[in-house]
Symmetry: C2
Subunit: 635 residues, 2 copies
């Protein structure tokens, strides 16, 4: 019956070897330097290194000129989105609207050089703008001290860049992994909701509002200032919003007509400008953007402000907004890459984002990343390479040099409609419903983010949601599932008897499958659970008095073990031994076996109690059982 | 070849059922109410409930009077330890020494009623005393405002009690599991070190010292006040310490002579008193304890101070000291129970500790738990039940009523020697060395605790160590080990090819074993890793150009999966499909399968890609491969 194979007791690998391989798994799971290593001459290796770190060297020489037309078309399309979005999000961040335009000039050029995604379109995002406004606004008022406020925004952008760059260089992409899908869904939906609420100020044409973002304060503020409401503004806002939503609806029904929704915001701005200019809208209570200066980005490197009085606010704004923006950017780059079967290296992307924000902050730009809407438009417009970002930058340059003053008349209510329309698409009811159906805890994590953001504040919502997700991660390992194995009829397979009820248990033997690492956080639980399995079996009337005399622990699923885990296994064995119940171990994995050997666990238990398969263990159990009863083992 | 069994696609269990069983696993892994449930009449059930919640009802009626002599002997022995320890630790906590004696009167009585350990001896512990002194001392000076300070200590003790009681009632024993063995070793050793350092004040007979606990500050303080040093004090201290260490050495060599080391501290106190009384020690620079009032514990319930000004300090002291004391107490109770094959319910013990501290705080007691030294002495003295605690309480009552004033002359240097001797035994070099050999990360966690406590402060050291341990717990799940499976010659077993190099891979097929849950924190990693396994195989010259055409994922070790995990598996499959590589799943466990069914994962992938064993999957792979090439599947 037996397999004739023994468990491997090979000497543990050296600490250096294991440490190296751990580091590799933790920091370089995707083995990024493979292509460099595979080159044989130093020159080729240098070339490969350069190609790796500065992707434009790799793709530009190979660029097929026939693709240029696609990139130009895509670049123009995203420019028509970048102008209204730039102005809108700059207003959201409480900085001069022109900065939003500057921000679509320098960063896309930097990304085109260092970025590795073909489809990502660079731009500002609403959530990061909102975080900036909240965090820095808490320290310095944007209305009372606009210059200082603006300089702090540049500084925060610089710090974001440094943070992202360092994360990338230190290969800490692992941190982004800890923002779960559910957290992002909840946080994004919550942020979209509060951003919509903030737009009610412009839609209603209010002059006074609240600096708070939560639902309760916003509705209070609207109620308090209801006398300032202007019907003209509301009408214009609703019309624009309806138009924008209609174009989105069209895109959804006919994806080929994506360009209708892509140019819609630009159309809204143009119509708004014309309307405001000819009808003297300001007199009718419709506020406009106001003066926009011609000219390219002024240099702002000397404006970076590291004064310790504001440093904690700028660091917080930079880190939180940076983490959110980066997660969005990487996730989006990745999803589009998958559609085209490319692969994106998250760490390299972080370096590109970092450089883009650092250099941006020197040229009057604020935080950029790869926003979903722009990237989707870029993709649909048929972009073929990062060249579309360069085209956008060139178009933006012309806008800044010649057209900027034209946008002076843009009504704020048009911008509000553009933002609201973008945000309504981000509230992901369907995903929430899906989470509710499939996984209640994921739903809880998502709702904590959503409700936390809408009713408390952005950072509390985010922390709450991440905290719950971490708690769950810890619970996963604190209470790993165990199951009783039964032999499937006519095979040598052992499977969970709850899942496969036709499995049978060998008399007097109980085989349990453990999963996940055994370590301090779950060691006690595993001991209790093993004891309870035995009790359950002994008390189960179906077993007709067949008591457990031997327990077999199947360890194939145990990926690692620590000292507490080993101690607890010994302790469990001792407790069972005193009740004359034996215990054997099946197939410990490499890392586990090494630790068992080093800590003398194998020596203490005896090699006779380790088996390569359950089949072998059952064969061995009866003879071991006899042996044990004759001469109690020393533990 | 095939096993003829299909994967089970049974309908997912209901949310209610799964939620209930999750709660049970998380909060009641030991199924504590089993005995109550098994009774058949209401009266029997009531009796069982009472027995469960108030253990004295269970054991006292069954008590065998012949055991009484053992308990009396043990009780007297631990009293002789309780008096010097009580006085010493009270000094350590900066409260009047008499409170240390009070604390060995009420709490042991409470524990005897509610506690479930037979061997635990109740008393104060040094680490908790030190935490109290540090945390509350930071708010209110013990020398300038001793009454308020004392009241805050009682309050902290009350809060500790409430906290422990609630943890027990809410079955949150799981929290204690997150204090790993390595954290406790490091923290305890570090605490023992700084407590020894604090004793240098009394040993050197200094009048001025530092309120800091870290090594650097203590040595600076000694150096600064070196002129106050009294050689008489040093000589007495060294002699006492040498004597105590000698008795410990004797106990180690001849465990039967444990009583020598058990009564040694009492002897030191008595000799110290006589010596101080007859030689007028105070004039020679040897400080004494001073006035001790006769009489039982005064009531202190009306002194509990919940003033918001001090509340944060008392809560912090109560929680941190309570958590540490409880962990020590439960761990110790458990270890001795194991020696005698009893089982201890951690949650029930928490309730007992909680009640003992709540009631204690009403009667001028401070924080108590089950200290290691006292419990070991109790065990060695042959205690048979919690009655030994009652005997100790009675002895202590007589001491308080008649003998207390005698201890007025106890020299502080004698107490310092007692504390130092106890603490030297707690610095666990051997365990640290063992950790270093077996697990470098465990060693790091331990050293973070040790060095953090000795060079920074107790709370930073503890947080640092717990933080590292949590980081490790998260890394375990963020980077779960995967391995390539090979078929063991002559069997149907598939095992790790690195561990068992004679395994062979079927041509064109790659079987990978995944372990631990698949979820947001490791989903990206698993995708990268699977892709890298394929690349490694394809580039491995040993395979002679045999490229991977089908990947089989063995999921037996995967205990759970979340939405992000499922999405990522789909994504991986899509990426492989575009490279014409197939992917199948083997033996998903119950919870995983349920989620795969609910989220329509099975539907999207197709039932044909799920197998019960690797053998089946290999059989199926070739035909699936053909099918896939003919007609690409919709994903």
């Amino acid at each position: 019956m037996g397999t004739g194979h023994e468990v491997s007791y090979a000497d543990p690998r050296s600490f250096g070897f294991k440490f190296g391989s751990h580091c590799k798994e933790t920091l370089f799971p995707d083995d990024p330097f493979r292509t460099i290593r595979n080159r044989h001459t130093p020159v080729a290796r240098l070339k490969a290194t350069l190609d790796y770190f500065v992707p434009i060297f790799e793709w530009l020489p190979k660029y097929d000129v026939r693709l240029l037309q696609y990139d130009i078309l895509a670049g123009i399309t995203i420019t028509s989105l970048a102008i209204p979005q730039g102005i809108s999000y700059a207003k959201l961040a409480n900085i001069p609207p022109i900065v939003g335009l500057y921000t679509s000039f320098v960063p896309p050029l930097v990304y085109a050089v260092f970025g590795s995604s073909k489809h990502l379109a660079v731009g500002t995002v609403a959530s990061a703008s909102m975080i900036m406004a909240n965090t820095i606004g808490a320290e310095v008022s944007a209305t009372e001290n606009p210059t200082l406020y603006l300089h702090l925004v540049f500084t925060a952008c610089f710090l974001t860049g440094v943070f992202q760059f360092l994360l990338g260089v230190l290969r800490l992409g692992i941190l982004v992994d800890f923002l779960s899908h559910s957290t992002i869904t909840g946080f994004m939906s919550g942020t979209a909701t509060i951003i919509c609420l903030q737009q009610l100020k412009s839609i209603f044409g209010l002059k006074h509002f609240t600096t708070h973002t939560d639902v309760v304060h916003v509705f209070k503020a609207i109620f308090k200032n209801r006398s300032e409401m202007r019907w003209q503004s509301v009408v214009v806002g609703v019309v624009f919003l309806a138009f924008l939503q209609l174009t989105r609806f069209i895109r959804k029904k006919k994806p080929k007509l994506f360009w209708v929704s892509a140019i819609a915001p630009m159309l809204v701005v143009i119509i708004g400008c014309i309307f405001a200019y000819f009808l003297d809208a300001e007199k009718h209570g419709i506020q406009i953007v106001g003066e926009l200066k011609k000219g390219l980005n002024p240099i702002s490197i000397h404006h970076l402000n590291f004064n310790s009085q504001y440093l904690s606010a700028t660091i917080k704004a930079g880190l939180v907004a940076g983490a959110i923006a980066m997660t969005e950017g990487i996730a989006i780059g990745r999803s589009f890459a998958i559609l085209k079967n490319d692969q994106i290296d998250g760490n390299k992307e972080m370096v590109a984002f970092g450089l883009m924000n650092i250099i941006g902050s020197f040229f009057s730009c604020y935080l950029t990343t790869g926003p979903f809407s722009k990237t989707a438009v870029n993709f649909n417009a048929g972009c073929k390479s990062a060249l579309s970002n360069i085209v956008m930058a060139i178009c933006m340059m012309f806008t800044l040099l010649f057209l900027a003053p034209v946008f002076k008349y843009t009504p704020l209510v048009a911008l509000a409609a553009i933002i609201m329309s973008a945000m309504l698409g981000l509230i992901d009811y369907e995903e929430m419903h899906h989470l509710f159906k499939v996984d209640k805890f994921d739903f809880l994590i998502c709702m904590a983010g959503f409700l936390g953001v809408t009713f408390l504040s952005m950072d509390y919502g985010l922390m709450l949601s991440i905290g719950l997700a971490l708690l769950r991660a810890l619970l996963y390992v604190a209470r790993p599932a165990t199951c009783k194995l039964g032999k499937m009829p006519g095979t040598t397979l052992y499977r969970d008897m709850e899942q496969y009820p036709d499995g049978t248990r060998a008399p007097g033997l109980l085989a349990l499958q453990l999963g996940s690492p055994i370590y301090y956080a779950n060691a006690n639980y595993i001991r209790e659970r093993v004891l309870r399995w035995i009790q359950d079996e002994d008390e189960n009337p179906d077993n007709k008095g067949d008591t457990v005399e031997f327990v077999i622990l199947e360890l194939s699923g145990v990926t690692s073990i620590d000292m507490t885990g080993l101690e607890t296994l010994l302790e469990t064995r001792r407790m069972l031994q005193s009740r004359k119940i034996g215990m054997a171990f099946v197939n410990p994995r490499l890392g586990v076996m090494e630790k068992m050997l080093k800590s003398k666990f194998v020596e203490k238990v005896g090699k006779g109690f380790f088996f390569l398969s359950i089949e072998d263990a059952i064969d061995g159990a009866y003879s071991l059982r006899r042996e044990m009863q004759e001469k109690p083992l020393q533990v």
